[in-house]
């Protein structure tokens, strides 16, 4: 997939508000594959909503969202499943990891589905992000910052055209943020994918092609 277009998109909850000033809502915006985008936002401006609309698990918006010119409202269940396995990867703000499983199992549950990354690569990322000693630790017992790093590794265990990261470094120090940024950028570059990153303050330092204010 090469292009995501938002045409006059607006969350239903904002419909009756006339004070919506945004670079994205109620505008015509497009995200292209291979480019890096930063979406800056204050809380409550619909940052997570944006991710969920594009990722196809919420449809409470008006306007249109097009993938390569095709309206996503027409997508079937199997089409969305296919997109989530091969086209988009999303690092949720709330992570959506499984606390009952260990760190490595959380990554594997995705990688077994896609069969995309080699085990050596996964272990290397654990190493780089400084959580190699947590491989077999239960996710539920780890700090949120550690969980964020595991969630990133999981997000990279699939082919994608676009990588969405929703406040990926909210609980990370600068050093770890830098490492995360480098890993993400390298993997996106290797796959020729675009990155759409959101933040409410602190953001990953990347050579962004475009910055939006939500």
């Amino acid at each position: 997939m090469d292009k995501i277009q938002l045409i006059d998109t607006l969350p239903n909850v904002f419909v009756n508000r006339d004070d919506v000033v945004s670079d994205i809502w109620n505008k015509e915006v497009s995200f292209e594959r291979g480019k890096l985008y930063l979406v800056e936002a204050n809380s409550g401006t619909g940052k997570s909503s944006l991710c969920s609309y594009i990722y196809g698990y919420r449809h409470d918006y008006q306007g249109r969202i097009l993938f390569d010119g095709e309206d996503v409202r027409l997508y079937s269940t199997s089409r969305w499943t296919d997109i989530r396995q091969k086209r988009f990867s999303l690092l949720w703000q709330e992570l959506r990891i499984f606390p009952e499983l260990t760190a490595l199992e959380n990554v594997n549950i995705k990688n077994k589905l896609t069969g995309y990354q080699k085990k050596t690569q996964i272990l290397e990322w654990f190493e780089m992000l400084g959580i190699a000693d947590k491989l077999d630790a239960k996710m539920g017992r780890m700090s949120f910052g550690q969980q964020q790093r595991v969630a990133l590794i999981r997000a990279l265990c699939q082919p994608f055209d676009f990588l969405f990261v929703d406040e990926p470094i909210s609980h990370l120090d600068d050093a770890n943020s830098d490492i995360m940024g480098r890993i993400m950028a390298a993997e996106a570059k290797r796959q020729g994918a675009g990155i759409i990153s959101t933040s409410i303050g602190k953001h990953i330092e990347l050579p962004y092609d475009q910055v939006f204010n939500l």
Binding site: T77, T81, R84, W92, F98, L113, R154
Partner: protein, 399 residues
Amino acid sequence: MNLVWKLLRQHISIPQFVGFFFANLVGVVIILLGVQFYHDFQALDKEDSFMKASYLIVNKKISAFSTLTGAQQTFSKSDVADLKNEDFVERVGAFTPSSFNVRARFDVQGFVNFSTEMFFESVPDDFVDVASEAWNYQEGSTQIPIILPKNYLDLYNFGYAQGKGLPKLSEGILGAMKLKVQIAGNGEVGDFDGRIVGFSSRLNTILVPEKFMQWANLKYASSENTKEPTRLIMEVNNPADERITAYLQDHDYETDKEKLDASKTTFILRVIVSIVMVIGAVISILSFYILMLSVFLLVQKNSTKLENLLLIGYSPAKVSFPYQTLTVGLNVLVFILAVVIMCVARNYYIGMFESFFPDYTVPDILPALGVGLALLLIVSIFNIMAVYGKVMSIWKRKD
């Protein structure tokens, strides 16, 4: 799939599933046993293949009074016509008695030598359920097909043979043996070979084909043999019909009451088996309800996990699979165990059937297997769809 199962088995309530398992097992066993018992019981009844259950034999009551006064024991033409007019009667046939002397000798080399005076009767051939080739008499032939009352065999086996230390005979062995028949009357004597085509527990007479009877009555009997029949055979719609009993009472007729009772027994048995099966079905349905509730509860408790799996790219089918396998697996287990229990329970009553009726051929268990498999299939398909439906509702909940 292993990791997914590790995730989704959380919150599985073993007591709930054990509860379902045993409740459903009880229900299915009752249903299967009901089906099979009815089938096995009907096989008992089939023993008498010569007379359908809907046939009744009617005669006039013989009382001390009628014997003294010499009142007519025979059915007149108007009696028959009147009977034919009744709604519950399909058709009526008359018994034709032999008007000549019959002597029969049974010769089994060495050990049985049996000779007796006897008689023949015939009914219209279409009342006899024997393949027409077997129940056919060619004029001039010395072969006569014969149907004997089952009582005769029982008398021999349990009375005579027992007392004399002779071997017991089965229907099969007797059927292969010849009965030497000598017919005399009207100054003529004829020798015939009786071929026993079967035994009837319903007909208390020695039956030969009507064609033979007509021929023999002409040849061996004295001229006036247009006797009125003393017994009638009739086919009725429903042997349990109250009007039959009433009609017979009104006209002072008797019937092979035992048969009426027997058909009532069959009818009552069918009702009882149906009731028992309905109870089994209710138990099964309730247990199925427990299973569905447990699964729905499980899905509810694990809804976050299910949702996250869907969001990281698992298809609804893949996410449903573990719970579908769980329920279908339980169903299969119940089915297998139910069939085993049914077979064990069946052995008890089959043994009883066999000791009472030596000629009982044990039917197969296909009816129970069929019903069991059908239940398994229906319930499993329903489970699979219900689980998928629940997962899809999680998929769509974000709408």
